[in-house]
C-alpha cells in the first residue's frame, strides 16, 4: 500500500519534472511530438491501404521496419551490458552510465515492439499471439521466442531501475540482495535477446545469406559496439545540458568496450567476406548483390560501402589510445560507428537475404515515403520515451525529486 502511494507520488512528481524545462528542452520535445504525429498520420495511411503503402513486395517481403527492429534489439541488449560492471563488480565509474543505459534499453525495446507492429499485415489480430487466449506456437517458431525474450527483457529493465529509483526517491539505499539477481538475469537475458533475434534469420534454410553460423555472434559484436557508442553520445549530450556529473573516466571506460567490440566485429566481417568471395558458391549471390550489385541492380552499393568505410575508419581510429582519449574525436567516431552498424545490421542484412528470390529473380527494394515517415515517427517515439525516462531518473539521482513524507 505504501509502495503504491510512493509510486503514484513519483509519477506525479515525474510528470511535473518532464513538463518543465529549459527552452531547448521544450523545443526538442515539440519537434519529437511533431515527428511522432507525422509518423502516426502515415501509419493511418498504411492501415487504410494495407502494406501496399510500403515499398515491400512478394520478392522483398521484409524491409525498413524489420531492419530497424533487428538493429534496435542490439541497442537494447548492449545498453544493459554496462550494468554488470556497475552493480556487480562495484565499478563506480559505470554507475552513472547504468541508469542511462537502462533507460536506453527500455526506449529501444518500445521501438522494437512498435516496428514489429508496424510491419504486421493484421495488427488488429495480434491478440492471436497471446498465450491461452490465442495460439502461441512455442517452441517451434523463433518468433514466439523473440516475443517472450523481448517482453521479458522489457519487464526486467523496467522493474530494476524502478526499484532503485523508488528507493532513492525516498532517500533510502536500494538493497543489493533485491536487485543483484535481477541484474544478473538481465545480463544473460541481453545476450539471449540478441541470439534469439539472430536465430530468427539464421534458422531459415531458404535464405542462404542468413543461414550462417556466424550471424548470432556477429549480432552480439556489432551490438556491443553500436549500443555503447550511442550511450557515449547520449552521455555527452546529458553532460552538456544537465547538471548530471559524468566523469571523463566513465566515458573512456565505455569507449574501451566499443573499441574491442568493433574490432571483433571487423574480424568477423573479414571472415564472412573471405568465405563468400574466396570460393564463391551458389549461396554467395546475395553477398555479391550486396557488395557489388547483380545485373546492374546496385541499390545497396552506396549504403554498404559507406557503412564499411565508416566502420573501418572508426574502428582503426578507436584502436589508438591517443585518438580515443580526445573526447571530441571520440564522439565523432562513435557517431560513425553507430551509423555504420545501423546500415550493416539493418537493411544491409535484411534486404539482401531476399535477393535473389528463391528462383533467382532479382527485384530491388526501395522504401516508400510512408514507410520512411513511420520509421522516423517510431525513432522520435523512442527518443521521446528515453528523454522522459532519463530526465526523471537524473532528477531522482541528483536528489531534486524527493518523496515528501508529509503526504502520508
Amino acid at each position: 500500500m505504501k509502495t503504491l502511494k510512493v509510486f503514484s507520488s513519483l509519477v506525479k512528481d515525474a510528470f511535473l519534472e518532464v513538463t518543465h524545462g529549459s527552452k531547448v528542452y521544450h523545443i526538442w520535445m515539440a519537434v519529437l511530438s511533431f515527428i511522432m504525429l507525422f509518423g502516426m498520420y502515415n501509419y493511418s495511411i498504411q492501415l487504410e491501404e494495407g502494406l501496399s503503402a510500403t515499398g515491400m513486395t512478394d520478392r522483398v517481403s521484409w524491409g525498413l521496419y524489420i531492419s530497424n527492429f533487428t538493429f534496435l534489439v542490439g541497442v537494447a541488449a548492449a545498453a544493459v551490458m554496462l550494468v554488470l560492471p556497475a552493480y556487480v563488480l562495484k565499478n563506480i565509474d559505470f554507475k552513472q552510465a547504468v541508469l542511462i543505459g537502462e533507460g536506453l534499453a527500455v526506449a529501444a525495446l518500445f521501438m522494437c515492439l512498435a516496428f514489429v507492429i508496424a510491419d504486421m499485415g493484421g495488427p488488429a489480430r495480434l491478440w492471436h499471439m497471446i498465450p491461452v487466449i490465442g495460439v502461441f506456437n512455442f517452441p517451434n517458431s523463433m518468433l514466439t521466442w523473440d516475443v517472450l525474450v523481448l517482453n521479458g527483457y522489457l519487464f526486467i529493465n523496467i522493474t530494476i531501475p524502478l526499484y532503485i529509483l523508488i528507493k532513492r526517491y525516498q532517500g533510502k539505499v536500494p538493497n543489493p540482495k533485491v536487485y543483484i539477481p535481477g541484474v544478473f538475469l538481465s545480463v544473460f537475458w541481453a545476450v539471449g535477446i540478441h541470439m534469439v533475434t539472430a536465430f530468427l534469420y539464421q534458422g531459415l534454410q531458404a535464405r542462404p545469406f542468413w543461414n550462417n553460423a556466424l550471424l548470432g555472434p556477429r549480432f552480439l559484436a556489432s551490438a556491443f559496439a553500436a549500443g555503447p557508442a550511442l550511450i557515449i553520445i547520449v552521455l555527452a549530450i546529458i553532460r552538456k545540458f544537465t547538471s548530471f556529473q559524468v566523469p571523463d573516466k566513465t566515458i573512456k571506460k565505455i569507449s574501451m568496450i566499443v573499441t574491442v567490440a568493433a574490432q571483433i566485429n571487423l574480424i568477423m566481417l573479414i571472415s564472412e567476406l573471405f568465405k563468400e568471395f574466396y570460393a564463391p558458391t551458389h549461396h554467395s549471390i546475395s553477398a555479391v548483390y550486396l557488395f557489388f550489385g547483380l545485373d546492374g541492380k546496385t541499390a545497396l552499393l552506396p549504403w554498404i560501402w559507406t557503412s564499411i568505410s565508416l566502420n573501418v575508419v572508426a574502428t582503426v581510429a578507436l584502436t589508438f589510445h591517443k585518438v580515443r582519449s580526445n573526447l571530441k574525436i571520440l564522439y565523432v567516431l562513435c557517431g560513425m560507428l553507430f551509423v555504420a552498424i545501423w546500415i550493416e545490421k539493418g537493411f544491409g542484412l535484411i534486404v539482401p537475404g531476399f535477393i535473389p528470390g528463391p528462383w533467382g529473380k532479382i527485384a530491388e527494394y526501395t522504401p516508400s515515403l510512408v514507410e520512411i515517415s513511420v520509421t522516423l515517427g517510431i525513432w522520435a517515439m523512442g527518443a521521446f520515451i528515453f528523454t522522459v525516462l532519463a530526465k526523471t531518473g537524473i532528477a531522482v539521482e541528483l536528489g531534486q525529486l524527493v518523496y515528501k513524507k508529509q503526504k502520508e
Binding site: E49, G50, L51, S52, M56, T57, D58, S61, W62, V116, D119, M120, G121, G122, P123, A124, R125, L126, H128, M129, G134, V135, F136, N137, N140, S141, M142, L143, T144, V147, L200, G203, L204, Q205, A206, R207, I285, G353, F354, P356, G357, P358, W359, G360, K361
Partner: protein, 350 residues
C-alpha cells in the same frame, strides 16, 4: 499466345473471349455447363453468364471480396445489426485448426450469410475434413509442358486470387535448352508465342512439403499441414508477419499487400474454408491443391486445365493411382532436396 501486348500473368479475360476458351482450359460453353453442377442451387437462379460477366470486369470492384468495412456503414436496420454481430463473432473466433465441427459449421454459416448480406448472392462453402488414407501428391512432366499457362489462368479463376495485383500461385519458367535447370537465367515473365524454339518449360508452385519450414515458423499456428498432406492457411487467424514467406525456399506463398479484388461476377462460389474463400488484406495465401475440388474427388484446376497432360495429381497411398505409377516407373526428382523439406511435388521426363 497473346496478340495484344499484355504480360503473360495478367488475367487477360479479353483473351479468353477471343480464343473462346476460359482459364479452365475448356471452351466457355463447357465451362458454363459445368459450373451449376458444382455450385450451390441458387447460383442457377442468378441471371449471369460467365462471358457477359467478363465484360463487366470493373463493375463489381466496389463490392470486392473481403470488404470488411462495409459493415461500418451508416445504414441502420436489422441487416446492419446482423452484419456487425457477424463481424464481432468473426473477429473473436478461434483458430480453425482447433475448432470443433460445430464451431466450423457456425463460422461457415456466418461467412456465407455475411456474403449474402453484402452482395445478395449465395455461396457454397465447405469445411470438409481430410479423408482417411489419403495423401496428396503431384507430378510434373517437364517433357510435355509447352508453357501455355492455361494452368495459371485456371488457378486464378478457381481460387479467387486478387485480380488487381495479378496474384498467381503458379510460375512457369522458360528455360533454355542445353543449360539444364538454370532458374537464374530462366524467364518466368515471358509474353511471346509458345513453345519458343530451343526452350523448355517448368512449373513451380507450393510443393506442399512433408516437412514444411513455413509451418514451423508461424508464431500463431495459422498455417499447418492437413492429414491429407495439404499445407493450408487459416486466413482469419493469420496476423500477417510474413515469416512463412521468408522461410519458404520455393516461393510458394503470397501476401495480400492490399485488399484483394475479385469482381462479383467472377467469384468462384464453390468454396472451402481452407481453400479459395475470399481473402482480406494483410494475410497470407497460397496454393491449396484446390482443396475445395480435391476433397470432392476432383483434380485441381491446374491439372484439369493443362492441355498437354504435364500435370498429374493423385493419392500417394493408393497403389493404383497415376501418381504412384509415375513415381514407380519414372526417374523422378524434386527441387532443392538438400534443404530437407521433402516436397510432395515431383518432376520427371519422358
Amino acid at each position: 499466345m497473346s496478340e495484344d501486348n499484355k504480360k503473360w500473368y495478367s488475367l487477360n479475360l479479353g483473351r479468353s473471349k477471343k480464343t473462346e476458351s476460359c482459364g479452365c482450359g475448356k471452351t466457355s460453353e463447357s465451362c458454363e455447363s459445368e459450373k451449376p453442377k458444382d455450385g450451390y442451387d441458387q447460383i442457377m437462379d442468378v441471371p449471369m453468364s460467365r462471358r457477359s460477366a467478363f465484360k463487366k470486369i470493373t463493375a463489381g470492384l466496389a463490392i470486392g471480396a473481403g470488404a470488411v468495412s462495409t459493415a461500418c456503414s451508416v445504414v441502420s436496420g436489422d441487416e446492419s445489426k446482423e452484419k456487425s454481430a457477424i463481424e464481432w463473432e468473426e473477429y473473436f473466433k478461434g483458430n480453425y485448426k482447433l475448432m470443433t465441427n460445430e464451431e466450423k459449421d457456425k463460422t461457415v454459416d456466418r461467412l456465407t450469410r455475411s456474403y449474402e448480406l453484402r452482395t445478395g448472392k449465395n455461396l457454397n462453402m465447405s469445411s470438409k475434413d481430410a479423408e482417411e488414407d489419403v495423401l496428396f501428391g503431384y507430378a510434373f512432366n517437364i517433357s510435355k509442358c509447352q508453357g501455355y499457362m492455361d494452368c495459371v489462368n485456371a488457378c486464378v479463376e478457381e481460387n479467387n486470387q486478387d485480380r488487381s495485383s495479378e496474384m498467381q500461385y503458379i510460375r512457369i519458367h522458360e528455360m533454355e535448352d542445353g543449360k539444364g535447370f538454370n532458374f537464374e537465367e530462366s524467364d518466368d515473365n515471358y509474353y511471346h508465342e509458345v513453345p519458343a524454339e530451343g526452350h523448355f518449360y517448368m512449373g513451380t508452385q507450393c510443393f506442399h512439403c512433408d516437412n514444411p519450414p513455413c509451418v514451423e515458423v508461424c508464431p500463431v499456428e495459422a498455417t499447418w499441414m492437413e492429414k491429407d498432406g495439404i499445407v493450408v492457411i487459416d486466413y482469419d487467424w493469420c496476423v500477417g508477419c510474413r515469416y512463412c514467406m521468408a522461410a519458404c525456399p520455393y516461393d510458394g506463398r503470397r501476401f495480400n499487400w492490399k485488399t484483394p479484388e475479385v469482381p462479383e461476377e467472377e467469384v468462384n462460389k464453390n468454396q472451402h474454408y481452407l481453400g479459395n474463400r475470399l481473402r482480406k488484406k494483410g494475410v497470407m495465401e497460397k496454393c491449396t491443391f484446390c482443396v475445395q475440388r480435391t476433397r470432392e474427388g476432383k483434380n485441381p484446376a491446374c491439372v484439369e486445365a493443362c492441355p498437354t497432360g504435364s500435370r498429374t495429381f493423385g493419392n500417394l497411398l493408393d497403389p493404383d493411382s497415376n501418381i504412384r505409377w509415375i513415381l514407380d516407373n519414372k526417374k523422378v526428382f524434386r527441387l532443392k532436396e538438400d534443404l530437407g523439406t521433402e516436397p510432395k511435388f515431383w518432376y520427371y521426363m519422358d
